[in-house]
């Protein structure tokens, strides 16, 4: 599969204050592939998405590294990227109808207008599981539940015929049955359209289900990337391992209780010297307190930023 996206040493800073929200993020994504991004809240998952999607909040800027598309040569075009978010209802403009939202997107991306746009909007709504599509076109976001609005956002994303869909915690704000439905929908659409998917979650279960490969983030850095089975079954970074151990198992035969990670995430303006995980890490020693470890391969397609990775 051809390369779709390469992120290299991406740095995003709060200007004027020496705070790096993203501090050298590197990963890549092939066409049609699904990347799962995991990590505790505040580690920079959303910022990574925003940087790729060209929508960093006001005042924050890319201060280093690169985001390149395709083969990375100059002249390779930016692929079509669509995004969906954690809180679908506040990501929809309250004064516009669902129909306006979808039809303007269809015009922007496919030059459809008038009745063509209307029909396509209805088809998209039906595709994402909203029935009565015709009457729904005149509805406003506040008349829909969060789950329905997330479907609307997905329909809107599809209107762009994206090569990459970025889904930032698309199910976090939804109830459990709705979560399952949305995940199932994403799986189906991925198979149908062949788009690549970058899905953010702090739930490894979601990642395990959808992703081909996973990246684990900690304090604005990627600390491990690997094929998803590898990360779930054989995590190398002590943080990745701890993250998996603190997930409640849904397997009834598994009697191991979840183990919480000791300590807490350091503040970005008060990061420890060396590896940012060292205050919480049982394996920290020597070099760990001096320099942040570089991301280095431990196996085929498996990279870890750790001086003392857990052996396979």
């Amino acid at each position: 599969m051809p390369r779709l996206l390469t992120v290299q040493d991406l740095v995003v800073e709060v200007p004027g204050r020496n705070i790096k929200i993203l501090n050298g993020v590197s990963f890549s994504l092939d066409a049609g592939q699904t990347l799962g991004l995991v990590g505790e809240s505040g580690c920079g998952k959303s910022m990574t998405c925003y940087a790729i999607g060209n929508m960093l909040p006001r005042g924050l800027g890319q201060a280093g590294g690169s985001i390149s598309f395709g083969s990375g040569e100059s002249g390779s075009e930016r692929p079509t990227i669509a995004m969906i978010f954690q809180d679908p209802t506040s990501s929809l403009n309250p004064v516009h109808t669902i129909g306006y939202y979808l039809e303007t997107a269809l015009y922007r991306h496919q030059r459809l207008r008038g009745n063509d746009a209307r029909l396509e909007a209805m088809r998209l709504l039906e595709r994402v599981g909203i029935d009565n599509a015709k009457s729904r076109l005149g509805a406003y976001p506040h008349q829909f539940s969060g789950g329905m609005n997330q479907r609307v956002m997905i329909a809107h994303a599809l209107a762009a015929k994206p090569q990459l869909l970025i889904a930032d915690e698309p199910t976090t704000a939804l109830d459990v049955t709705m979560q399952a439905q949305i995940l199932y929908l994403l799986e189906e659409l991925k198979a149908e359209t062949g788009m690549a998917l970058m899905i953010v979650s702090h739930d490894l279960g979601v990642i395990a289900r959808l992703a081909d490969k996973a990246a684990v983030m900690y304090c604005g850095k990627i600390v491990e990337t690997a094929p998803v089975e590898q990360i779930i079954q054989n995590p190398s970074h002590p943080y990745a391992r701890a993250l998996i151990n603190c997930m409640p198992s849904i397997d009834p035969a598994d009697h191991q209780p979840p183990v919480p990670i000791p300590g807490s995430v350091p503040l970005l303006d008060d990061l420890p010297q060396g590896c940012y995980y060292n205050p919480r890490c049982p394996r920290a020693a020597g070099e760990c307190f001096k320099r942040f470890p570089p991301l280095a391969p431990v196996a085929q397609a498996h990279n870890v930023a750790c001086y003392h990775p857990v052996a396979a």
Binding site: M55, M83, S90, P94, V95, H142
Partner: protein, 306 residues
């Protein structure tokens, strides 16, 4: 929609009636008009004659009923001071006041809203600082002082405009400018703050991520949302268009309703005060009704409840 308007109309009527009653009673308990009109050295006989003349010797409920009876027929009595018909006093002074206040309001909107929008879009730039500095200045200098400064510059120093009076349109320029500056200052600050808040909403970030051009984001996505609180704010400002020009009218000797009201209150001219308060109330009720209808029109969340 008919039910909506009907319920608002019933409410408006209730507000009007209770205001009339309240003002009527309070005015009659707050000092003796006979004494205020005739002076404290008037003989008791003269005062008694004054009370009989204006029906002030009857009981308050009786007076109120008589007042209502006449008011319904459009007769609001005569001024205690000069015997002129209250209706005439009011209908003559309202247009004078509205000439100044409505022109000033329109100018303030035309200046304040674009200035606020530009300041919000170019936040923290030189133009934003300029607009905000002007607005803070315009808002914090008392209106009468601005009026006096204008008089000094344009009437005394440059001698291009008259300083006071209300006989020609040239007399209206300085009062309008003074009132407009003050209102433009608050409108631009409010517009800027509202638009900045809207621009920080997730749906705006999402629209940017979607590649919608900045001008379209402002026009189609941000402004329709900012318009909702802005209309409420403009409504509140508009309710002061009849009464709020008192200071300006005083500084420029502009004989509008505000100046008349101040005189009537000072002299205890009950019929004039009473009628003017009713006019102010009707005005405020009408503005509020307009705001509510506009609000429902702009805000889908309100509209879908009706």
């Amino acid at each position: 929609m008919t039910g909506f308007i009907l319920s608002k109309a019933v409410r408006a009527f209730a507000v009007l009636f209770s205001t009339a009653l309240f003002v009527f009673v309070v005015l009659r308990f707050s000092g003796d008009p006979a004494e205020r009109m005739l002076g404290e050295f008037a003989t008791p006989e003269a005062q008694a004659a004054f009370r009989t003349l204006w029906g002030l010797d009857k009981s308050i409920p009786e007076q109120f009923l008589i007042y209502l009876q006449h008011a319904i027929q459009g007769d609001f009595g005569k001024s205690f001071a000069d015997g002129r018909d209250v209706f005439d006093i009011i209908t003559q002074s309202i247009p004078k006041t509205l000439t100044v206040s409505v022109s000033a309001f329109i100018i303030a909107i035309l200046l304040g809203i674009p200035a606020g929008i530009v300041a919000a879009i170019r936040r923290d730039s030189a133009i934003d600082r300029l607009v905000m500095a002007t607005a803070v200045l315009g808002h914090s200098i008392p209106m009468f002082l601005v009026g006096l400064i204008f008089i000094f510059i344009f009437a005394v120093w440059l001698r291009v405009l008259p300083s006071s009076g209300s006989s020609t349109w040239r007399h209206a320029i300085l009062p309008i400018a003074t009132f407009a500056l003050y209102n433009a200052a608050s409108i631009s600050r409010f517009a800027r703050a509202t638009l900045i808040e809207v621009l920080e909403q997730p749906y705006i970030a999402a629209a940017r991520g979607d590649g919608i051009p900045p001008s379209e984001i402002i026009l189609r996505h941000a402004l329709p949302n900012a318009a909702i609180p802005l209309v409420t704010m403009l409504g509140i400002l508009a309710t002061s268009l009849l009464g709020g020009t008192v200071l300006v009218e005083t500084v420029f000797a502009w004989t509008g309703i505000g100046a008349q009201f101040v005189r009537a209150v000072g002299q205890g001219d009950l019929n004039v005060v009473q009628a003017m308060i009713l006019v102010f109330t009707v005005f405020v009720v009408m503005i509020n009704l307009t705001v509510e209808i506009l609000y429902a029109f702009l805000n889908p969340k309100i509209r879908s409840q009706q």
